[in-house]
């Protein structure tokens, strides 16, 4: 803790003494009069690095003084661990602080530092373990929409508090849940795995220190730790890269093949790439032993076919992009080959251009700020290109309000990889992007900053290069249709993303009034467009942008969010589901009212999120469709299905929004359409 922070904490301790002694002195009926001041000072303590510890020391006194008098927290035995998360999302700092004080009191009881009538140490420990398990996202530092729209100092303070609780409650149960959570996130195969790797490193450390406390979680933790630090026989005891290279020189062909296969197994098991794996590939290429590459990448038939045709290019990419600092590019490369996109004529030459690209100073500066200087910015960018092309659904927006740009990147990587490479080359070389809106050119270099200030620091290299430009262009397109009296995405989405975006757009929210416009019609049209039973069994051909009204775990509206619809299909149990891409870093979110977005186990491919069709429809507010493709076999969905979705809309994110008269709508819309 800095000297300044520690001086501040001392001062707050003194102020707390004033506020707390007033509370202590007060009669029971007057406690509430002095609670707020105590909570105010306590909350400020919480935001300092050693705040949790200082508050822990005060916890029994706060309790005895009557901080909880008159509230539900006064009866700790009745508290519900599941509610803690919601309380911590309260917009009132005092409410958040009350919950924090209660958690620290529980910790004090659990550790025998305090007593409270009605709760035993066991009970308190169990309660805290459950709370920690239910708030694992606090360990990952991953932010969702709801958290992003809240105060960042508060979020950081609460993250710190949870690390404090975890460190003091004993690790066994929490770690087991933590490991499960990491597996859940890895199941989505994110491009950005830095945080997960850090977490695994921490698990490795604690497993070393307190392995016997791990219990059953041990196995899952071991697989994660070994995938990163010791995936093969040659690096079993994490010997360091130099020693490992020396060992490689002494191995025969069989041993080398075993190494290659071991790496590939661990990589495809977890989506994580060990530094040893990256170095092994470099070594193989340097030694002219390219024959090891297919085994080391774990290629299947498509990948193998690509490698046979483009072996020289692949070896070039390994030499230019794969380093221990860009180890994840190995997984990107393997998946890129497996997708077969090298057979798409422009891709190979575009990758060759990418390898030869000289970056402009601005691009270099952005990349260095985000990734450091261990390897050249060109290497980071090429590695990023491989990852994004190999894992289009693994692109995440980081903690940036740029879901639109992340969604576009992902969509292009999936659907128009040559176009994406074109944009990367443009922005990386000239620090500008040109796009067109309704026939008029837009140059990002001429535009003021959009929602994102500067380049993102916590996203993949392609995002670092492209997002600042895309964000500005997107904002400019918005400005150009701001006065049209309707949701601007109607016009922006097709122009911004590509020809395949449906030319018509339905928006359920009447933009001028905020009311709901023709809810039933909206839901019916969505069924007729996307549901195979009502659209004549027509599959989703291209990913389609759509808008989601994100809700929190209490089904309260949080904000609008951009996603893309990938496909609609039955899962293995026969439930019709919408599979979609969410640019959010972790798609597994609880949207309330029983809607928990699934990311694996219900037919999802890596990176896909899914909900049953009606549940998805209940959070949808904007989608595109193509009027040209009107097949004869479309039919109306049953009214009760539509009514169910409409009810779910009205009782969640649209609660309190009035219905807008349709005639008024038509009258208003007529002159505005361009």
């Amino acid at each position: 803790m800095s000297e300044q922070d520690s001086a501040r904490l001392d001062q707050l301790r003194a102020t707390m003494e004033v506020a707390l002694s007033r509370l202590e002195a007060a009669r029971p009926f007057a406690k509430h009069r002095f609670q707020q001041a105590v909570l105010d000072v306590a909350y400020r303590m919480l935001t300092l690095p050693d705040g949790p510890d200082a508050l822990y020391a005060l916890a029994p006194r706060l309790d005895a003084a009557g901080l909880f008098a008159g509230s539900d927290w006064d009866a700790p035995a009745t508290l519900q661990p599941r509610i803690v998360k919601h309380t911590l999302q309260s917009e009132h700092a005092a409410t958040v602080m009350l919950e924090v004080a209660s958690l620290l009191r529980m910790l004090a009881v659990a550790r025998g530092d305090a007593e409270h009538a009605g709760i035993q140490a066991d009970h308190a420990r169990h309660f805290l373990t459950q709370v920690l398990a239910l708030n694992l996202d606090r360990f990952f530092g991953q932010t969702d929409e709801a958290a992003r729209s809240r105060d960042s100092v508060r979020e950081a303070s609460l993250d710190r508090l949870f690390r404090y609780l975890a460190a003091h409650i004993g690790f066994q149960d929490v770690l087991g849940l933590l490991v499960a959570e990491i597996w859940r996130i890895l199941g989505q195969r994110p491009v950005q795995v830095g945080l997960v790797k850090d977490m695994i490193a921490q698990i490795a450390v604690s497993a070393l220190e307190r392995g016997n406390e791990l219990g059953e979680a041990r196995l899952g933790a071991d697989r994660l730790v070994s995938a990163l630090f010791a995936p093969t026989a040659g690096c079993r005891e994490d010997p360091g890269l130099e020693t490992y290279r020396a060992r490689l020189g002494a191995m025969d062909d069989t041993a080398l093949r075993h190494e290659a296969q071991g790496f590939a197994r661990a990589m495809h098991d977890t989506g994580l790439v060990s530094d040893y794996h990256a170095d092994f590939l470099r070594w193989a290429v340097e030694q002219g032993n390219g024959a090891l590459v297919p085994d080391a990448l774990g290629l299947g038939s498509t990948g193998l076919e690509c490698w046979r045709q483009y072996g020289a290019l692949v070896e070039g990419l390994i030499a230019e992009a794969v380093t221990p600092w860009t180890a994840q590019s190995v997984y990107g490369l393997a998946m890129l080959l497996e997708r077969g996109i090298l057979h798409h004529a422009p891709i190979a030459p575009a990758l060759q251009r990418q390898m030869a690209l000289k970056l402009c100073p601005a691009a270099c500066a952005h990349l260095q700020a985000a990734f450091g200087g261990q390897v050249a910015p060109e290497t980071f960018l090429l590695a990023g290109v491989l990852q994004v092309l190999g894992q289009p659904l693994g692109v995440g927006q980081g903690a940036n309000p740029s879901c639109q740009s992340a969604r576009a990147l992902s969509m292009w990587a999936l659907n128009a990889p040559d176009y994406l490479l074109h944009l990367v080359a443009q922005a990386a070389t000239y620090d500008t992007l040109q796009m067109h809106f309704e026939g008029h050119p837009i140059d990002s270099a001429d535009l003021p900053a959009g929602l994102v200030s500067g380049a993102p620091l916590d996203a993949d290299a392609v995002s670092v290069i492209l997002v600042p430009h895309l964000d500005r262009i997107y904002a400019e397109m918005g400005r150009r249709c701001a006065d049209r009296g309707d949701d601007p995405h109607r016009w922006i989405n097709p122009e911004f993303h590509g020809w395949w975006v449906g030319r018509e757009c339905l928006v359920i929210v009447d933009v001028p009034s905020g009311g709901l416009a023709d809810v039933h019609g909206f839901v019916r049209r969505f069924y007729r467009t996307y549901h195979p039973e009502y659209n004549g069994q027509e599959p989703v051909i291209h990913p389609q942008p759509a808008g989601i009204a994100v809700t929190d775990a209490s089904a309260r509206f949080v904000g609008w969010h951009a996603i893309s619809i990938l496909r609609v299909a039955e899962d293995q149990t026969g439930v019709m589901r919408v599979y979609f891409y969410n640019p959010n870093n972790d798609s597994g979110q609880d949207w309330g009212a029983g809607l928990v977005v699934s990311t694996q186990g219900r037919g999802e491919r890596h990176g896909e999120a899914s909900l049953p069709f009606p549940d998805f429809a209940a959070r949808l507010y904007l989608f595109h469709y193509d009027p040209v493709l009107r097949t004869q076999s479309r039919k109306e969905p049953p009214p009760q299905a539509v009514a169910g979705v409409v009810d779910a809309i009205r009782s969640s994110w649209a609660a309190g929004r009035p219905d807008v008269d349709e005639e008024v709508l038509r009258a208003a819309a007529a002159p505005a359409s361009p």
């Binding site: 004033v18 002195a25 009926f29």
Partner: protein
């Protein structure tokens, strides 16, 4: 419960204030709260001695409460609010067998009578007049400005408009133009009109026993209606001798044997002191809390001492510290108002939050997003508390708060 001393007085508290009840419950005097019936259930549930009484209705039963308290064995009644001051006068005239106390309390309740009484006793007051209608206000505004030799079109000197029987800042308006007069509603009349005095406004809290000032605090206003701190700066404290003599004049003019008064004054640059008004009850704006923070004694308990006929002088001397010298520092508070027309949340400004003098706040989250236009003083959305060594720094800090947004 603190051990109650049966040899000391039995106190009746008129009005419902948890702050006061909390403090008095912790003190060694027996007490009973006399307050409206809506508080009864809460009082009973929390073991607070309680007698229900509706203060809104002065009628033939008024004598009843005095008799009830007399039979209960109460020695004295203490008013907590402006509305209970004359009730206390009426009750105490019975309990203490002193009819003069009722008449005295009527003086405190009527701002115009109060001023005339002060004036008759040779206390200097500004120009003032009673107003029954808007026309009276306009006439006064014009005449004051004529006296100041203002020409048509010159900006007017403001006048002050104070509803007769409202406490403190409630119903206090500053009138600069005829348009301002239009916004006064009918129910604010009758009212007192006063000329504006350029000078230093301050308030005094004085605990009085046996016609003697037991403790005198000077509260320095940084900006009326916004901020106050105690003890005052050395400049204002340098007038303490003169202020003490002014309070002694008030004690004579209003014939005050005991109790607690809370007068307001102006001192102009040449040291002339103008009397504003005086209240015979605890001040608003949490001045007692500031005094407790600075000196460590509880003001309500001090009031009980001052009212209780059984209090000895030794007890008083032991209870009250030496003004200024015994203060641990300067305590101030700022009443925050939203500065914007539309607000969505309360947010302590960073520079306030980071200031070492900042202690804590009691600001409420906004319930409505639209801020109603402020026409009178007095409806701040909560208080922000400060404490520190240096009175000048405190004063400047409180001033700075006025330009910050606590609601965004």
């Amino acid at each position: 419960m603190t051990e109650k001393n049966p040899d000391k007085g039995y106190i009746a508290i008129l009005g419902w204030s948890l702050n006061a009840i909390d403090a008095i419950d912790r003190f060694d005097r027996r007490y009973v709260v006399v307050a409206p019936p809506w508080a009864e259930e809460y009082a009973r549930a929390n073991g607070i001695p309680f007698i229900p009484w509706d203060f809104d209705r002065l009628n033939e039963r008024s004598h009843e409460i005095a008799q009830t308290l007399k039979e209960e064995g109460c020695d004295v009644a203490i008013p907590l609010y402006e509305e209970t001051v004359e009730w206390a006068g009426a009750i105490n005239s019975v309990l203490l067998d002193n009819p003069r106390l009722l008449a005295q309390s009527m003086l405190f309740r009527d701002k115009s009578l109060m001023k005339r009484r002060a004036q008759l006793s040779g206390i200097r007051v500004g120009i003032f007049e009673e107003a029954d209608s808007r026309a009276d206000v306009v006439r006064f505004l014009k005449r004051v400005n004529q006296t100041l030799l203002k020409l048509d079109g010159d900006p007017n000197d403001p006048i002050h408009f104070k509803a007769f029987d409202k406490a403190g800042c409630l119903g206090h308006r500053i009138i600069r133009t005829v348009d301002d007069v239009e916004s006064i509603s009918d129910d604010e009349f009758p009212a007192l009109l006063e000329s504006h005095l350029d000078g230093w406004e301050f308030a005094v809290e004085a605990w009085i026993k046996d016609r003697k000032i037991q403790f005198l605090n000077i509260s320095e206003y940084v900006t009326l209606g916004y901020s106050v701190f105690v003890p005052a700066t050395p400049e204002l404290e340098s007038w303490r001798g003169k202020i003490t003599r002014e309070i002694e004049k008030l004690i004579e003019a209003f014939d005050i044997d005991f109790g607690f008064i809370h007068p307001e004054y102006f001192v102009t640059s040449d040291g002339t002191m103008y009397f504003g008004e005086v209240a015979y009850r605890p001040p608003g704006f949490n001045a007692l809390e500031l005094i407790e923070r600075a000196y460590g004694f509880n003001g309500y308990q001090g009031i009980v001492l001052a009212f209780d006929p059984k209090t000895t002088q030794e007890e008083m001397d032991a209870f009250f510290p030496t003004p200024v010298k015994d203060a641990k520092g300067h305590a101030g508070c700022f009443g925050a108002y939203p500065r914007r027309r539309v607000v969505s949340e309360m947010q302590i400004p960073e520079e306030t939050q980071d200031d070492p003098y900042f202690e804590f706040h009691e600001l409420a989250q906004p319930l409505e997003q639209k801020v109603t236009k402020r026409s009178a003083f007095g409806t701040h959305w909560g208080l922000v508390y400060f404490f520190g060594e240096d009175p000048y720094r405190m004063r400047d800090l409180l001033k700075v708060q006025e330009d910050l947004d606590f609601y965004v």
